[in-house]
Amino acid sequence: MNVFVKKHKQLSIFTTAGYPNVESLNDQISVLSTQGVDFIEVGIPFSDPMADGPMIQETSRIALKNGMNLEILFEQLSMRKMNIPIVMMGYVNPVIAFGLELFLKKCQEVKVQTVILPDMSLEIYERFYQSLFEKYKVYPCFLITPKTDDERIQRIAKLCRKSFVYLVSSNSTTGSKNDLSMDKKLFKRIKELCSTTPLFIGFGIKTRRDVENVYEVADGAIIGSAFLNAISKGTEEQFLESLY
């Protein structure tokens, strides 16, 4: 069974663990869950997030300053009360410093089934990490871009059949200011290449209109920087309402 397969179009929100306060995460999970968000991506803060734009860089910096680390994060996740699917997202280095096997074991313990490590390529996963992921029944999710070739999309979709494929809307770091320029025809073709694996689109999605555009071509939308920006202004509840 794949928890990301649903009859309706889905909305996912990304948040940086430990931002704005070290204890913020579980409150955010409750709010997002009550609001009807389908699943939550929890960002593991890293000092050098090379694929991220200014918003996630800044929230990560503050989260680290607040003392967030994987030990604390797993502790918090183990105490969450909401039954909403959680996806953990972060860079490879903090995970291997924690110990990949311990990380996966903890994921299993706190019932996190899905992990996205953007700098862990498909090739690296298959060569070094796949057997450990499988041992603990944690399923990776991989990014694709509009430039990824068909064969690779199919390979990734097959590997992600228990999670989902994360399509980056355009070549950019997260939260980029570019208008969401979507080639719907291309995206629909990508959706077909993914077969039964759910396809979600993220990077640069900010408004209800963006979300509706995504719904036309994919199974759901992922919002990160725009939500964090709302948190930084204290307007996250209004922001969430504006999305529905």
Binding site: M50, A51, G53, P94, F98, P118, D119, K147
Partner: protein
Amino acid sequence: MELRTTKHTRPDEMGFYGEYGGAFVPELLRPNIEELEKFYLQVKDTPSFKEEYITLLKDYVGRPTPLYYSEKLSIKHSCSIYLKREDLNHTGAHKINNALGQILLAKKMGKTTVVAETGAGQHGVATATASALMNLKCIVYMGEIDIERQAPNVQRMKFLGAEVIPAKSGSKTLKDATNEAIRYWINHPDAYYLIGSVVGPHPYPMIVTDFQSIISEEMRIQLLEKTGNELPTKVIACVGGGSNAAGAFYHFYEEETVELIAVEAAGKGLKSGASAATSMLGSQGVIHGSMTLLMQNAHGQIIEPYSISAGLDYPGIGPLHAHSIKEGRTKATSVTDEEALFAARELTKTEGIIPALESAHALAALDKIELFKSDIVVVNLSGRGDKDMATYKQYF
């Protein structure tokens, strides 16, 4: 440019030197690095590419650089000491060897914009120079702190037509300039990312090593002329990311009698908490797309390194060095700010050569290693010290 395939110097098909290296990059960059690797492997050994590159090195850079016998250092240390004069290259350091090689690749790939990171500014100047020569737009990311302490190089880059963008995140030095350059590349995939050291995702460590290997190729020829033997007993080079060391060691890796000594920046001392001695203080991890040794805390967050030298305060080290040091082939030692400053003044006063602060670390290692009368030592004098005059003036 005869490139030897050896166990220490050639990565496997995924870019691993032993357990170090690889390409830990987001999918966004995959087409870029695949395109680059494919193109590089196609052209590197073609006669036209080799000829164009070698001609530029000879007529534009001024290669071969001299191998200078330093009488004063030889007397002081009671052995034979040679200096490989990379400081005499056009633009003042070894960085131009790589910048020209890669700019030829960029040009042949049809790129119009080049983006680079720089620490001390030497790679930035080399890239700005090569871009001016090839009429390509050049963008250089440089840490805000480095912009202050290396002002002359900033002026040179701007005069050469490059846009210098301050990296304001993190420690505002080389690590952050590299993050920003990579982010620029993600957002502008049509640009050519011209990395300046043997770091970053595969194929960069391999490409930069190949272009710097001219240093040891010349050393062998010059040593044969001067000593009757193309092998020294020791080669010493400073290591930040490690491009000059990779070049200076390359053609000696398989010669077991040649000791390879990598000198890291100890900053204010190995235990001071203000250091950049990566192989001694670091542990295995991933930085800028490569599995290597890096300075990090218990939670895998990168530690801001420190050195008086803006070219050595990088928290990682090239994967081939990580591998070679772990295997025991390369020996790592470290030199403090103070020791490097002293060595710089000594060379200036006795030989009339003002070395770059980075290269001064390699020179200072002469006082720290055991030397025998029979030793023939080559110190790679990777750059000249013009850019460091403000620092030297402050101390002397």
